[in-house]
């Protein structure tokens, strides 16, 4: 075993020449040196011996000051803008050549021709498309040391710029890698791949070293000689712990150089590192550890981003709007981690292509599927089982992903000794489908389907069912190197039903659903090296059934109550420009013009002008016929972000956003199981609008191995809907009588220290955020808390998250997750009294008290089996404890009235430490 490891390491070293050559470091201030002077100096400091043609190097003048750097770094610098190459062999001989590289070792498959799979650090690079460069060269040489010539080679002096574009893919699956960073040191430049793994770089013609990184992957670099516009596709290798590569400095400096602010990008590999409940990777739980993101409590549906409500986040699962992103009332997220590629969370600068929500956009991307071979992931646990299969239907052309997940927690519940639980049922499933088809190099089709269903029944009393369903088709067309577009059409549906037959006479079924038909066209145009434009239009047609209450069972005496359907059209046109003013200063500016039409048929209540809206002030009803434009709201939205690089390791960013939201969520959090309804803006309910100012300072320490940032924000919100005292939300035919226009303000500061790589990696975030609301409605009757500012339901001032991973050895790593946050505000009933014959309750001011603080710590240990690369079966253990300190966090706090005796209860779902052990097999 040990011998094998040593052997494979040795083998690896031989192959990985570039890594083993750096045996000696070079220091010195070489000003106005000729190449031969430099060589003399290096040979005196080290054991290297140079072989070169002096005629080829005589024009070189060297000005460089170095301190303890490797020979390859030095030569990279020195030879960077030349057509010269160097090669170093294992004995320390350095060969300088013009235009071609000397192979100092035999190709790794020299002795086994026909074997194409390569597990070493060599990259099986396809030749750059459109170029005949080394097409016939089937020997795999190190792509890192190879010079890729783009365009027709010329000896003329190179002036102007050229576009380099291409795909970044996973070498194993062919899966495009989104949000990979492509960057250069000179000129200081960085771009990210888009969701299709595609990048576009505008560079001065000439020689460049391009670095490509994506976390969880080995960093790669490419030597490029750019003569004209062209393509370079890059395939990245997965970072494998057994390979003692210098751990990726993934996205090093990307936080400094990226123009966007307040955006968090995580790929599935980073997400999977975080310890999860029952070992089930949970995307939303990881998002919750990011600065500025909180949740109102364990098991709550969704996220509160920068003091926004859960309904103010646009959650997109491959462009499908997900209204309820959780399973089992929030204990699992609705996204199967095996089909997810990665997530992007925008919380301050929201790109103009997104709209319709005030707080944030969480964009969850789905894998495209392995285009090279069939593969699958299967998992079985006492709680869930899942299966994902992916592979090419037609190699290189069409690939599919099929994923499914289900639970059999019913079985578990039924086996519990407590009668309350063993008479309960809980189950869910979700299904994913994705088909990616390449029509030709210019046209691509993507078909995606998603469905999830939840069922929950507590003690055979009330049953809850909810479903998300969506399907969409995208057509991506590349017009030319500079111009591409995507056309998307899709449908989304979210529905739930609540039913109870516990008391047969009161048996009821309450149904709610919301349907969306979406159409959007998005275009990117790289105007020139300074301007990248994006523009497009989107349209959503909503149909919403706000409540359908029907008797259930033959004995039921419940009378039906149906709140009529409503419909609306929300459209937007947008245009944005990403403008690089200088290498240090850049601007992202966009405008989005949103148009909202509330459509008939609808019966609109009229109220006494100048009086508060209440049942008693209804004067008349206006009936509108189908398709009638009842009310139109339009608004321009502005999105601006500025970035200024103070130095190579620090930058400052500013952003300003305005947003509009036309759909509102109404949630009664006082109930044991909160049920949310959504409401479209109508003549009586105005759209919400918000603006956000934010400022961030980013500083990287210790040569970019530690990232720190501080962001502050201030937000204002108008027409936020809060509820009147005594509001009734469900089955309300005139909800406008029970809501109050409120204005809100939110502010906060977010601190992040992140060590993205290394033996010890992870992040620590602290968020201070406050959200206050104030009744802003002169006709509201009694304003909430006498018209002063009061904390919103989701106001949680302090939140601390720690994610830490420590790699003890190649085989053992430990991950810890610690979460602390202030408890959410609550309005408490304080006293009982009798007045006018009635017994009534005296409540505190709105949100005057808080439920207990939330604290949880999780720990997991991952033990990998051996890492022999050719071994067929790989195994690993993962064991851990969820809620290590057995803190009883409140899922829900509620009050019930039993025969006049009002009592408060606190429901903790995970009131104890939950250990788990997982055994993984991979073959």
């Amino acid at each position: 075993m040990r011998y094998c490891l040593a052997l494979s390491l040795l083998l690896f070293c031989i192959l990985q020449v570039a890594k083993c050559q750096d045996r000696k470091l070079i220091s010195g201030n070489f000003q106005n040196y000729s190449f031969s002077q430099l060589v003399k100096e290096i040979e005196s400091q080290t054991d290297y011996h140079f072989f070169y043609d002096s005629a080829e190097v005589d024009s070189l003048l060297i000005n460089i000051n170095v301190s303890r750097i490797t020979i390859s770094r030095l030569l990279n610098e020195v030879l960077q803008k030349t057509s010269l190459h160097y090669s170093i062999d294992s004995t320390g001989r350095v060969f300088i050549t013009n235009n071609s590289i000397i192979q100092t070792t035999l190709p790794n498959n020299f002795f086994a021709p026909g074997k194409t799979t390569d597990s070493s650090g060599y990259i099986a690079e396809e030749s750059p498309s459109g170029q005949d460069f080394q097409k016939k060269d089937k020997l795999k040489i190190s792509a890192e040391n190879k010079l890729f010539e783009i365009g027709i080679r010329t000896n003329k002096p190179l002036t102007g710029k050229a576009i380099l574009s291409g795909y970044v893919r996973d070498v194993q699956s062919g899966e495009p890698i989104a949000a990979a960073s492509i960057y250069l040191d000179t000129p200081s430049l960085m771009v990210n791949t888009n969701q299709y793994g595609y990048y576009t770089l505008l560079l001065p013609k000439g020689r460049h070293t391009i670095k490509i990184s994506s976390s969880g992957m080995q960093e790669a670099k490419r030597q490029v000689m750019l003569y004209a516009d062209g393509k370079l596709d890059v395939e990245l290798h997965e970072y494998v712990a057994s390979l003692k590569t210098v751990v990726v400095s993934a996205e090093k400096a990307s936080n400094i150089k990226g123009t966007q602010m307040g955006v968090s990008k995580l790929n599935i590999k980073q997400i999977k590192q975080v310890p999860a409940l029952f070992g089930e990777t949970d995307i939303l739980k990881v998002v919750l550890t990011l600065p500025g993101v909180t949740s109102v409590g364990e098991g709550s549906n969704g996220l509160n981003v920068r003091g926004g409500s859960t309904s103010q986040n646009l959650i997109l699962f491959n462009d499908a709007t997900i209204y309820n992103p959780s399973h089992l009332f929030g204990f699992f997220s609705a996204f199967n981690p095996d089909v997810v590629k990665g997530i992007e969370l925008y919380k301050s600068y929201i790109p103009e292509k997104f709209g319709g929500r005030l707080s944030s956009v969480l964009d969850v991307a789905i894998k495209d599927g392995n285009s090279k071979k069939w593969s699958g992931v299967a998992g079985i646990s006492p709680v869930t089982s899942k299966l994902t299969i992916e592979g090419p239907l037609q190699k290189g052309k069409t690939s599919i992903v099929l994923g499914g997940r289900t639970t059999y927690s019913d079985w578990l519940l039924h086996n519990l000794p407590n009668t309350t639980y063993n008479r309960s049922d809980a189950s869910f499933y979700d299904l994913n489908f994705r088909l990616t088809h390449t029509i030709n190099s210019k046209n691509f089709l993507y078909l995606t389907g998603y469905m999830s269903r939840d069922y929950f029944n507590f003690n055979h009393d009330t049953s809850y069912t909810y479903n998300n369903k969506s399907a969409n088709l995208k057509w991506r067309h590349i017009f030319n190197d500079k111009f591409s577009g995507v056309l998307t059409a899709g449908i989304d549906k979210y529905q739930y039903t609540v039913s109870s037959e516990y008391v047969p006479v009161n048996g009821y079924k309450l149904a709610f659903d919301i349907n969306q038909k979406n159409l959007r066209a998005d275009f990117n145009y790289q105007l020139n090296d300074k301007h990248a434009l994006d523009f497009g239009l989107t349209s959503i047609y909503y149909t919403l059934h706000p409540g359908n209450y029907q008797p259930l069972g033959q004995q039921s005496l419940v009378s039906p109550n149906v709140v009529p359907q409503e419909q609306a059209l929300e459209s937007a046109l947008y245009f944005g420009d990403s403008y690089s003013v200088s290498s240090k200063f850049s601007i992202n500016a966009g405008i989005r013009y949103s148009i909202y039409n509330y459509l008939g048929p609808h019966d609109e209540y009229q109220y006494v002008p100048g009086e508060g809206k209440s049942v008693n002030t209804i004067t008349d009803t206006n009936s509108y016929t189908s398709g009638k434009f009842i009310k139109t709201y339009t608004a321009p939205e502005v999105r601006i972000a500025l970035k200024y690089e103070l130095s190579s390791s620090s930058s400052i960013k500013i952003s300003y956003n305005t947003l509009h939201q036309y759909i509102h969520m109404l949630s009664n959090t006082a109930a044991i199981s909160p049920t949310d309804i959504w409401k479209l803006s109508d003549p009586n309910i105005k759209p919400q609008s918000g603006q956000q100012y934010s400022l961030g300072y980013y500083k990287n320490l210790k040569s970019n191995t530690i990232e720190t940032s501080i962001e502050v924000y201030y937000k204002t919100i108008s027409h936020y809907l809060d509820y009147k005292s005594g509001a009734s939300l469900l089955l309300n035919h005139h909800i406008e009588t029970d809501v109050i226009n409120s204005k809100g303000k939110a502010y906060g500061i977010e601190l992040l220290i992140k060590k993205p790589a290394g033996k010890f990696n992870g992040w620590l975030s602290y968020t201070f955020s406050r959200t206050f609301l104030k009744t802003d409605d002169p006709l509201a009757g009694q304003p909430v808390n006498n018209g002063s500012y009061y904390p919103a339901d989701f106001d949680k001032p302090h939140s601390v998250n720690l994610i830490a991973n420590y790699q003890f050895s190649h085989r053992i790593s430990v991950s810890a997750n610690v979460v602390y946050s202030t408890g959410r505000p609550i309005t408490l009933p304080l006293a009982v009294f009798n007045i006018g014959g009635a017994t009534s309750l005296y409540y505190s001011e709105r949100n005057q008290y808080r439920i207990p603080d939330y604290f949880r710590s999780d720990l997991s240990i991952n033990i990998d089996g051996n890492h022999r690369l050719k071994q067929k079966i790989h195994n690993s253990w993962s064991l851990g404890v969820y809620n290590l300190t057995a803190h009883q966090n409140a899922y829900s706090v509620y009050f019930t009235n039993n025969n006049g005796n009002v009592k408060g209860y606190e429901l903790s779902i995970f009131g104890t430490a939950i250990p788990f052990i997982t055994y993984n097999l991979k073959f």
Partner: protein, 393 residues
């Protein structure tokens, strides 16, 4: 090399302890367990001619406190007008109900209530301007044709369109009879025959009358109507076969004109008295009283002081008038009898030790024997109320 499939089996081998380790525990933070004993002021300033004003003072209690009513005793309650004239309200019965003498207050003045509790805290209401309550047009009833439940409605209007906001409360009185008639009743240890006109004999125990105050708050408004009219405002609902209409029922409806703020206040009280914790629950409401504690401005006070005249109207409903075959639904109570030998010296002497029995009638040809029966069969008072007929009956 042949293609190989990568299949990852992730098998969660076991999970220690129960997975759903949920627990429900009592939630009682200090804010809830505190005494939360706030002053509750219930009443109105009656600006009618020769009318007395009454306020009931009580204390709220925390959620765990099961006592039903905590009267606030030994307080000084003063009714004051804007000129400083004061009238004292006296708790003559020591039950927390403070009543003034008969007054004829000037309807154009402003009034307020000043309270000093026995612990020295001082409270005062805002000055309120009296409102003139319009006459009640009628109190009517109507039965739901499906369920036969009976609703009492009030109808009123203000010809001057000045009132807009109304509050009602009521007092119900109903007659209920014992299952059996006893013409002999127990008086001071003797079984005494009733008068020939037994039904009007004050000693009869067959007919009883129970009076109860309102159990909920009713407010209404004519806002949104072109005239100040309240039509068919429900006051209370009596479910089919309720004891209250098994013989004869009466309701006295009190009508008060109130301000808009008072209306809002009572609406919230009304809402807060409903159930909590369920799916269809309401958002908790706060109450903003027009009474403030002057010695401690942060101390909450419950209640809303209004001033108005009072309008009343009484309605009677007899069992024969209602539909649906209205019969009292009560648990089966067996009226089995015992026959007791009578005292030879005086057959009217009653000394049967079991107090759950009552005399019914005498039997036997020569030596009378006393038939006794469970008390609930012949004495309506067991079922509540009093056997003296109210004056308005």
């Amino acid at each position: 090399m042949p293609k190989y499939k990568t299949i990852k089996f992730s098998i969660l081998i076991f999970s220690l302890l129960t997975l759903y380790s949920a627990c429900i525990k009592s939630y009682s933070p200090s804010a809830i367990t505190a005494a939360n004993s706030y002053l509750v002021v219930d009443g109105f300033i009656n600006t009618g001619i020769n009318s007395s004003t009454s306020f009931v003072l009580s204390r709220s209690r925390n959620l765990a406190d099961t006592s039903s009513f905590i009267p606030e005793l030994n307080a000084q309650v003063i009714l004051a007008d804007s000129n400083g004239t004061t009238y004292s309200l006296i708790d003559s019965n020591g039950n927390g109900k403070y009543t003034s003498a008969q007054l004829s207050l000037n309807p154009n003045d402003h009034y307020r209530i000043l309270i000093t509790t026995s612990n020295g805290h001082q409270y005062q209401s805002a000055f309120v301007s009296p409102k003139n309550t319009p006459l009640i047009d009628s109190v009517t009833w109507r039965q739901n044709p499906l369920t036969w439940d009976l609703t009492i409605n009030v109808n009123t209007h203000d010809p001057f369109n000045n009132t807009t906001y109304y509050r009602w409360d009521y007092s119900e009185t109903w007659q209920h009879n014992a299952p059996e008639i006893a013409y002999w009743v127990l008086v001071n240890g003797y079984v005494i025959p009733l008068d020939a006109d037994w039904i009007n004999d004050p000693r009869q125990i067959y007919q009883c009358w129970t009076t109860a105050p309102a159990k909920h708050i009713t407010v209404g408004t004519s806002l949104g109507l072109s005239q100040d009219v309240i039509s068919m405002q429900p006051i209370t609902i009596i479910p089919l076969n309720d004891e209250r209409i098994t013989v004869r029922y009466s309701i006295l409806v009190n009508q008060y004109a109130i301000s808009q703020d008072a209306y809002n206040y009572w609406v919230l009280i009304q809402k807060n008295s409903q159930n909590l914790g369920g799916l269809f629950d309401l958002i908790p409401s706060q109450l903003n009283s027009n009474i403030k504690c002057t010695t401690n401005p942060n101390e909450p006070v419950i209640g809303y002081v209004s001033a108005s005249t009072l309008q009343q109207q009484r309605l009677f409903i007899t069992n024969a008038e209602v539909g649906g075959g209205w019969i009292k639904q009560e648990p089966y109570n067996e009226c089995s009898t015992l026959i007791l030998p009578t005292d030879t010296s005086n057959f009217q002497i009653y000394n049967y030790p079991d107090t759950s029995y009552a005399p019914w009638y005498f039997t036997g040809n020569f030596v009378p024997a006393l038939v006794v029966v469970k008390k609930y069969c012949v004495d309506c008072r067991v079922w509540g109320g009093t056997n003296s007929k109210p004056p308005f009956w």
